[in-house]
Amino acid sequence: MAHLKTPLQGYLGYRGREGQTAFLLHRISGIGTALFLTIHILDTALVYFYPGLYEEAIGIYRTTLFGIAELFLVFLVIYHGINGLRIAGFDLFVPQRWNIPTARGSFRLTLILTLLLWLPAAAVMLYNLLHHNFGLFGG
């Protein structure tokens, strides 16, 4: 990857607006999800190939560190989903509406929706984490 210099300069130094942020987040969330999904397929497959190892693997998911990572992961999956719908919606159904006000507005809406969906989910997950790992809430 000898050609990363310019993109990095751009991603870090170019003062792009909503569109650039949306693109970067979408890319990061996509790659992140894809990598996680790979691992997840493999560990789930243990139930068939090495069921003995499965419990150990799932044990990792129960650690506090992963619990926190999971919060992020869910955020990324929600964001990627909504933003993906946003992109697909414009591209497939209203391509003529791809202009600056709608692009900026729809991205902000995407962020708001993501937060709205994520906060309750995060609360539940945080509850589970605190409950199981720290014995709170009457654990």
């Binding site: 993109p7 890319r27 790659i31 139930v47 069921p51 499965y54 129960r62 869910v74």
Partner: protein, 128 residues
């Protein structure tokens, strides 16, 4: 607007065009599949309650198996094609590109195969 065209070479079906459509149409399906999965596993059930028994219980139902096969097929194919797009953005040497594309193809087949085997095979009995 109907326009006559002198040059009849059509853009035709090429891989990039199909891939672009695929990313978008699969996206529409992925929302219920992926979100449903995440909602169920990570939030409603939670990792602390997931174990072999839980998996075995779920896969006892054919419906869930079909759901998971679909999820695996769509999400992973979508994801791997996404990774391909990202990789081709940054890798320009034609040979390296071909390498990446073949590598990802094999990676996709392999992982999908493993996943599919598990879903079809189900939970093996724990060796006593």
């Amino acid at each position: 607007m109907q326009l006559p065209d002198a040059i009849k070479e059509k853009p035709g079906r090429n891989y990039e065009t199909i891939a672009w459509k695929w990313m978008r149409y699969s996206a529409l399906l992925l929302i219920p599949l992926v979100w449903g999965h995440v909602l169920l596993q990570d939030i409603l059930v939670g990792v602390h309650r997931i174990d072999l028994n839980y998996v075995a219980l779920r896969w006892a139902s054919l419906g869930w198996r079909i759901y998971d096969v679909l999820l695996l097929g769509f999400a992973f194919a979508h994801g791997v094609n996404g990774l391909r797009q990202v990789a081709l953005d940054y890798i320009h040497n034609p040979r390296a590109r071909r390498g990446v594309e073949w590598g990802l193809l094999i990676f996709w087949l392999l992982i999908t195969g493993i996943g599919a085997a598990a879903i079809i095979g189900g939970v093996s009995a724990l060796p006593e």
